[in-house]
């Protein structure tokens, strides 16, 4: 009777050498490919609308590649709104908030995961329950608060509320809980204080989850819409998402060309960054799944 190991060896060799025609794989790839086309097609359509002149848009059958590409729509966007400024603002806010959140969330998560103090569990539950509050509930009081503090119509009004993120605390805490405590105990014996443990031991080990949080936060901040809509009305401070709606025009009858061009410009930088970093981005999301 072969041992399990031997049988395993057999199965592996079996599947590797006697490869039947990979019907399943091809079938899989076809389905995935079809799905991928569905994912990409809308972007292609918008790019076409962005580069096309009026006669090539909204025609049937739909065109996917502009035959007479023109940059008129893009000119139009820049003439009409300070679009580059919008993008810069969105970028600046996203970076600041991401860095800020990494700091505040990791500190709080460390405390919840690794330290003991009275009220720990209750505080954590209260913090998590904040996840369930619909944003609209806090919007108007927040607006009034910002006005009182003198932060209305400044970027501070957008940054401060975004610095805390119960989800981030939750995510990091779950991860920190899985870090074996031996390292920490050893450090304590050596006389390390709490901050040293946080800085020298926990943080370095938390690379994957910190990356995940950074990405999620950046994306969330880049795409935020409601708060900037209410808090900002100086164009030099405005963000991209609100800028997009400005191009829609009155009664939603906005000209398609410039809107498409603006959309294309909103998406392309994200696409480029995404393509450059996708290995890390995807890996970190995937590892979120690993940690469950």
């Amino acid at each position: 009777m072969a041992t399990l190991a031997e049988r395993r060896q057999e199965t592996q060799t079996y599947t590797r050498s006697r490869r039947a025609f990979p019907w399943k794989t091809i079938f899989t790839i076809v389905i995935l490919g079809f799905g991928a086309v569905l994912m990409i097609a809308p972007f292609m359509w918008i790019i076409n609308a962005a580069f096309g002149d009026t006669s090539e848009v909204y025609v049937l059958p739909p065109k996917w590649i502009p035959l007479n590409p023109t940059l008129d729509n893009f000119d139009s966007v820049f003439e009409q709104v300070p679009y580059a400024g919008f993008m810069l603002n969105s970028f600046k806010l996203a970076v600041i908030v991401t860095v800020g959140q990494l700091i505040t969330c990791s500190m709080a998560a460390f405390a919840f995961a690794r330290l003991n103090f009275p009220g720990k569990n209750i505080l954590f539950l209260v913090l998590i329950s904040a996840l369930m509050i619909p944003g609209q509930v806090t919007l108007v009081p927040l607006f009034i608060l910002m006005r009182q503090l003198g932060f209305y119509n400044t970027h501070t009004a957008l940054i401060l509320p975004a610095l805390i993120n119960p989800f981030g605390v939750f995510l990091l805490r779950q991860y920190f809980l899985t870090i074996p405590s031996e390292l920490e105990d050893a450090a304590r014996v050596d006389g390390a204080n709490v901050f040293t443990i946080y800085w020298r031991i926990i943080l370095p080990l938390a690379g994957p989850v910190l990356t995940t949080l950074a990405i999620l936060t950046f994306v969330s901040m880049w795409n935020s819409y409601f708060l900037p809509l209410i808090m900002i009305n100086k164009p030099e401070l405005q963000v991209l998402t609100v800028g997009l709606t400005l191009l829609q025009g009155q009664y939603g009858a906005g000209a398609l060309g410039p809107v498409a061009a603006a959309l294309a410009m909103a998406i392309v930088p994200v696409l480029i960054i995404f393509l450059l970093l996708q290995k890390y981005i995807i890996q970190s999301i995937v590892s979120t799944g690993i940690k469950g």
Binding site: G33, T104, V126, V137, V140, P141, V286, G289, I290
Partner: protein, 307 residues
């Protein structure tokens, strides 16, 4: 002599404990302060607000439980909650099943570049803003000139579907746009969860003659259950709050066919200037989300399998 040593040790333990508590509060401080100022504070303010009638421009008028009475007498709110439940159910189901299905397909052996290409193309819509996604789909869903209807009619399916102004199809439009945007996230998280499952289980099952489907049911699903719970909880909370897609695609219409609760809150508070009532509806939504999440966690003990 020994007693002194003992006392000193005890003392230093207490000191250490106090230092730890002190440090802990220090670590939590930024989050806590932010939470009080920007979450709890406004939240409580909303509680208070729900007891007033306030139209933003004149001083608030105290009405006690008047807004809650209005809520229970509101002819539209029942339909709005039903719509929200319907949409949420569809979105969660589609995201979870499609996400899992695509992840299973993606987990196969295939050229590295191809797998990468798929992961990228499925995940990219997730990082695009909801506003941009909704604007794009508004064009695509156009009844007479949009590409979607065109290709559907080429396939012989009924043409000229009114995606954006029909009680039957508009909810589908919202679901399509939402799933298109978000499914990539589910795919990746499921992939991660699946990659964490040791191959040993599958090999042993293979040796025992288990079919692919049996392997999936008996190995993959149970071992994925923590991931499934995580995604389910997030999914439900998120689905109950979708705003940008219904607002931009259909503005809640026709009638209230795609009016989610948060859309209704926005309308009452910011269109109709009834801030007190809007706060009341928001509070009711909060309670419902809280209850649903607790139920999910309770039920999860039955089906989630922790290693």
């Amino acid at each position: 002599m020994a007693q002194n040593v003992l006392n000193r040790n005890v003392l230093s333990y207490r000191v250490m404990k106090r230092r730890e508590t002190f440090a802990a509060y220090g670590f939590i401080l930024p989050t806590l302060v932010g939470f009080l100022l920007f979450v709890l504070g406004p939240m409580l303010a909303s509680f208070v607000l729900s007891m007033y009638d306030w139209n933003l421009l004149t001083p608030p008028v105290f009405v006690g439980l008047g807004n809650w009475q209005q809520l229970f007498a509101d002819a539209r709110i029942g339909g709005v909650y039903l719509t929200t439940a319907k949409l949420s159910l569809m979105v969660v189901t589609c995201n979870m099943t499609l996400g899992l299905g695509l992840a299973v397909l993606l987990d196969r052996k295939m050229p590295y570049l191809l797998r990468n290409f798929f992961r990228i193309s499925y995940f990219f819509p997730y990082v695009v803003s909801g506003v941009a996604v909704s604007l794009i789909w508004t064009f695509l869903f156009n009844r007479d000139l949009g590409p979607l209807n065109y290709y559907l009619s080429q396939l012989g399916l009924s043409a000229r579907t009114n995606w954006l102004n029909s009680s039957q199809f508009s909810p589908l439009a919202i679901v399509i746009a939402d799933v298109w945007k978000n499914v990539g996230f589910y795919v990746l998280v499921f992939l991660g969860g699946m990659q964490a499952i040791s191959r040993d289980y599958y090999e042993a099952a293979e040796v025992d003659g288990a079919s692919g489907w049996q392997q999936f049911r008996k190995i993959t699903l149970p071992l994925l259950s923590p991931t499934i719970l995580f995604l389910l909880v997030i999914s439900v909370i998120g689905a109950l709050q979708i705003f940008e897609q219904p607002q931009i695609l259909t503005n809640g219409g026709p009638g209230d066919a795609t009016r989610t609760v948060v859309l209704y809150i926005y309308e009452q508070g910011f269109r109709f200037f009834d801030m007190g009532y809007a706060a009341t509806i928001a509070l009711s939504l909060f309670v419902i989300i809280l209850i649903l999440t607790i139920i999910q966690f309770r039920l999860s003990r039955r089906w989630v399998f922790y290693q």
